[in-house]
Structure formats: C-alpha cells, structure tokens
Symmetry: C2
C-alpha cells in the first residue's frame, strides 16, 4: 500500500506550482483563475480526455502536444471553458506559447486546460499578461500546490489535492495530484480536470497505459449529474527524478506504480463526488456477487446516477425501491429475486431488502444511517464473486440554485 503524504502536485521531486488571479473571472477579483504546474526537466507525459463529441479547444491542442509523449508544464484556467467559442484554438495555442516563452522551452512541451462557461470568448490577453508573474511565483511547496488547486475551482467548495509515496524498483517514488469537479461531472476517460505529477521514471507509452487503467477505476466511476463535460481532461507528468530503475515493461515496478496511482486517483475522485454541486452526501455504491466486473460497474453507476435515489439520500429516506428500479433499467441482466440491499455508514448498517423483497426495518435507525455525510449502498446479486464500487452524491436544493443561474 502506498502512503498518503502532503504536498499535492509539489510532493514529487522537481515540480513547482503557482496560482494567481489573472482576470478571467471578472465577477470575483479575489478568486484565483490561472494555475501553472512546471517540472524542472522534461517529463514523460500522457493524457485522457472526454468522449464527448464536442471537445474544447485545449483538448485538441493537448492531443497534438502529447503526440511525442513529452511535456514540461501545464497551464490551466477556470472561469471559461474555451469551448464552442470564438478563436478557441488560437487562444489555447497562445496560452502554451506564453508559458513556453517564459520557461524557455518548446510550446509543444506545454499542456493547456480550461474549465468554466461554454461558448464565450476567452480573455487570453489577461492570461498572457499574467504568465510572467505566474512563472515568477512558482514554488515547490504544499502552499503552491494549494494555490494551483484553488485556481482551477469553479463551483467547487473545497480544493481536491492528494499525494502518495510508494516503493518502485528500489526507490521511493511520489505521485501528487490536484483536481476539480463539482458540476457537469460524469467522466468518460478522464475527469473534469485532474493534473497529476510524479518523479517516477517511466516510459511515456506505459505512463499512458497506466493513466487509462487508473482513470477507468477512479474518475470514470463517479457521477455528479450524468452530464459528461466537453472539457474532461486528466494529465500526468513524470519527470523521472526519483532514481528508480525506469519502468519500461509491465513488471512489478509498473504494478506498484499503478497501485499507488489508483489509491491517489480514487481519493481525488471520491473528493470530487463528495463535493458535487450542492451535495451534502457522498454516495458509495458497491455491487458484489456479480459474475464479472462489467455488469457490477454498470449497475453501480446506474444507482449512483439515479436522480430519484439521489433525492432519497438527500431526504435521508431509505427508499430502496428506487435502488432496485435503477438496477432494473441499467440494461444488465440479473435476477431481481436474488438481490439483497443494505444501507450503511459510520452510524451503522440496515438491511432493507433480501431476495428482492422488503425487510422490516427501524425507520429511525435507517434515517440515522442516511444522515451521515458518507452513505454506502450495498448490493449483493448472489451470482458470482466479482464486485465494483462507484461514487456519486445526493441532489439538493443547492444543485438547482447553482445551476439555475450559473452563467448570468
């Protein structure tokens, strides 16, 4: 098992970060809106991106810049998605060029991300003007990682940051990450925005494989509102300064790295689900007793995505019928008359359904279980040994308030 440490994206050797207010967010001048993460040396780099047919301009630029598997820096802004907007591609390219000029590296070594409103022109001049100051304020410290994490927030209420260390091929390797989530979160190959750094020495192609593998079991298993964004991106930079024997094949070192990266990304993904727009509860749904992992995942995702189940958790109402209903329309085959369902949390566990039929249970106890900030929905299909866990959140008045008037 990897150990969690502090420092976020600055935990690995050779990475520094910064976050400033550049003026993309015009309505809140005290809010940081541009983040920069830089490695002292060129890195192996990889990215996973949204499957949405409508892709924001930064994703197109990143795909090009990642073609050679190398990068050194990530610039990211909040407040504007730079998607379906005038001059989007030119502006995304200009951001990379501004950073490259300040760092003295090729612009293809800079990756770019944006998050915020779709369809409005990005104030790229403000970002260009801020880049020199941003570069000047780069630091390797937990505070610098935190500044970058703040600068990518939109409706997030807390930053999402984590770092782990693990042993890889004879050296201690660190992996750090920051992420943002909140709304339009139903990732499909990446998350709204996730930036990962590591000092591990690893081949760029294997780094990409590792990222795909880990995104599948972390970011791709959360949902806030079922809306897959145009901007979902998860980027990773590996600068190889940890001194491990470089990972060049899928041996023990690769597996140790993937295990640690998984722990890190699951923590960031859970944090994103817990801080879903307006959310009061993290919902963790585990489907066990499945024949294979695939159907377990589909069923768990259907449950955490069900608006009615989300509303029931908001109301602390042990309405397990909605859980069975969401399982039933998932599209997967299972025997409804074999299903057990329980709700659990720090306050205890209540069995509510056995073999597809309701059990008598104490409503007061069930309510206490569901009032906890983290609620588990435990489903057993009694059909095999495979299991899968997915994460979501409740839907609240605040979700409606936030999204009824986000743009104007």
């Amino acid at each position: 098992m990897a150990s969690f440490v502090s420092g976020g994206v600055c935990a690995p050797c050779g990475f520094s970060a910064a976050g400033v207010h550049a003026g993309v967010k015009t309505h809140a001048t005290w809010k940081k809106d541009v983040a920069l993460i830089v490695s002292d040396v060129p890195c192996a780099a990889a990215g996973v991106f949204t499957t949405n047919r409508v892709k924001a301009a930064p994703l197109l630029v990143d795909r090009e810049h990642l073609a050679n598997g190398q990068a050194r820096a990530i610039i990211a802004n909040s407040g504007n998605a730079n998607a379906c907007a005038p001059n989007a591609l030119a502006h995304a390219t200009a951001e990379c060029e501004a950073v490259a000029a300040a760092l003295g590296c090729p612009s293809t070594d800079v990756l770019v991300s944006s998050t915020g409103v779709i369809g409005q022109e990005l104030n790229v001049r403000a970002i260009e003007a801020a880049v020199p100051g941003l570069v000047a304020s780069l630091e390797r410290s937990p505070e610098a990682s935190d500044a970058a994490a703040h600068a990518i927030m939109t409706t997030d209420t807390v930053t999402k940051e984590a770092a782990v260390t693990c042993e890889v091929a004879g050296a201690t390797v660190a992996i750090g990450g920051i992420a943002k989530g909140s709304g339009m979160i139903h990732p499909n190959m990446g998350t709204m925005l996730g930036f990962l750094t590591t000092d591990c020495a690893i081949d760029a192609a294997l780094l990409h494989e590792a990222l795909l593998e880990v995104a599948r079991v972390s970011f791709n298993r959360i949902s806030v509102d079922g809306d897959t964004s145009t901007n979902d991106s998860c980027l990773i930079l590996a600068n190889g300064t940890a001194g491990n024997a470089p990972i060049a094949e899928k041996g023990a070192g690769y597996r140790a790295f993937v295990a640690a990266l998984t722990q890190l990304c699951v923590r960031l993904a859970r944090a994103m689900a817990a801080d879903g727009e307006g959310a009061r509860h993290l919902i963790e749904c585990t489907v066990s007793g499945a024949r294979t992992e695939g159907p377990a995942e589909t069923i768990a995702k259907s449950v955490i995505s069900s608006t009615l189940t989300k509303a029931a958790v908001f109301g602390a109402d042990a309405n397990w019928g909605r859980v069975l209903c969401a399982m039933g329309y998932s599209g997967e085959e299972f025997d409804p008359e074999a299903v057990d369902v329980a709700f659990a949390s720090a306050a205890g566990r209540v069995e509510v359904c056995a073999a597809g039929q309701g059990l008598p249970f104490d409503e007061a106890v069930a309510k206490a279980v569901l009032l906890e900030p983290e609620v588990q929905i435990l489903i057993d299909l009694h059909d095999g040994d495979a299991a899968c866990t997915c994460w979501g959140c409740d839907i609240t008045y605040d979700y409606i308030r936030i999204n009824g008037d986000y743009r104007t």
Copy 2:
C-alpha cells in the same frame, strides 16, 4: 387530422368508468385511489410495458391475460406499486378476480395496474371491499372518466385525459385515454400508466402493432427524471362498436387509426412531461437536419434528459453550451461546427448558436422566451432531412422536495 373531443376514456361508445377512495392511500382519505374502466362487450386488447428488468406483479399478470388478445376491464390503483412486495402476484390476481366476479366475466378478461411506493404490501382487502361499489358507480360520462383519471394520480398535480374522433373505413371512430406521470418517468415501451379505449373494430394483433408504433413516437419520447419505472404500462381496449369495417390489414383504415392514436398519445405524453414532478416548464426539443430519425431522437432525448439543461430552463438561463454538451455525449455522430441552436416560445425566438459558435443575443429577450411555460429548444444539424421531437421538463426545488421525502 383527428379532432379532439371531450369524454376521455368514456368518449368511445360502450365504455364506462369510475374512481373511488378504497383506502390504499391511508394518509389522504379524500383522495381517490382505485379506478375501473369497463367495456359493455369483450374487446380486442393490447399492452406495452416497461423494459425495466424489475417488473411489478401487475405487468406479469397482464402479459398472461393479454395472451389471447382479449379483455373487458382495467382496474388500477395508486398509492402502492405492488412491486418487490410480499404476495404481489397473488394480490394482482385477486384484484382481477374481484372485478371478474362483479362483472360476471372471466378473470383473464380483466387487466390490472398499480402505481405508488415500491416494496410495501398492497392492501388488497381494501380494494376487494371497494369493487362492488366501484362497479355500481360505473357511468359513461366525462365526469366518470375524470374520476378514473383522478384515481390513478400520485404526485401528479393535474389529470391527463384526452379523446379524439376520426373517420375509419366509413365510420366515425373515437379513441380516449387517461394517463398519469409525474416521477420515475423515462418510459421505455409504455408510460407510467396510460389507459386507452376505442370503439374502433380492429384485429387484436394489429391493435398491438399500432400501440407499439404509437408508444414509440409519444410516451417513449418523454422524460421527467431519467428513471424508467418498474410499473410503466400502457393498455388499450378496442370494443368494435363504432361500426367501421373491421381493420384486418395495414391499409388506409389502419393508417387513419394510427394517426389519430398518435395525436391522442402525443397530447397525453406532453401533458405528462409538463406535469413532471415539481416542473414549471415543458421543454420541447426538436432536432432537425439529421440524416435519419434515429440519431435525431437520441440527440433530442439526451438534451431533454440533461440535468444541467433542465436546471438552466428552470433558471430561464439561455445556457446553450449545456445543450451542445448534452448533444455531444449522446453517443451520436454529428459535426459540432455545423450545429445551429435556437430557443423559442410564445414570447418569441432567439438564435443563440450558429455553426457551433455563440451568437450575440439580447439576454432580456432570451429570458422572456424562457420564462414561458412551454419552451422549445430547436437544433439544426445541417446534415439531412430527418427530424424528431422529444419532451421533458425543468428540474426545480419542488422536484427535490417531493422526492426527498416521498415514501415516509
């Protein structure tokens, strides 16, 4: 074109209806909770049901009773879904038997439906006790249809009732219907509950085909919350008393009947979407310029199902970026840079996006358009001549309130 007339399920010759309070809804003794629709003579009958893997007991009974394509009566209760509940199958059968005994017909000629909470035992004794009174109060009148429409309401705020007349093979044929919707509405082969009557003479197999064909373009094109219920059912009884040459093949008569049935069911489906739980706005999304109807339907459904788009309409916020985003994750291929989007309503029309990019528009005008109770989202893919329209509703504080505490 068929003409709309009054009378609901009692508009066609030879049909009577009733609705009473039997005691299934214990918390609201003034609310009707059992409906009965009866034909004077045996009818050709057909049904379409939910695709949810978890099916309520009444659906299993109906499938059996419809095997011979004949029925005479429909009994339906609200307040309890009779799904995943103790003795569900026995209770559904007992309801049919009670009605059969009172009418003097085989119990296989009675169809049964339930809607309400999942997982609690149905108070079938209360229904059995109410049946003699229910049969005694049968009437052929608009008021009787209205009583039946009231008796199937759950969180609906208004009844859904309509009837049409049309010319079929030399005779005037009437078709009537009542329906209920509100929550857990994302039908797939039927709707939450829809009961249709007609005096048209039509072969049972063709009646079934007509119902499938019409459900596909009406009930299956609405969504309130993306949750496909365990109880979705749409039943039709055709008693053949109109005097038309019986429809026995897919000729002009069949086509006239299907056209009239479509008009009726689209009206009921729109009414269901408009009265979605907590809804303040009907959202009608039309995707045109598609190569074929299939992709147009998938894209329109994705837009009306998008929680973020629904929240934007609630807030009268012309946030067309969310529309493009929902189109993009629909899974269909299209060229984002060819897409035009407009919002329209009784208050006017605003073009917001042309060729995939935002247009300048007057926010005050857009707000006025979106404040109307019926809002259109008009999308042109510029890729062909096919089009499709789907219907949904906004998501509001009331949706959360209703569903945060529905069961207890």
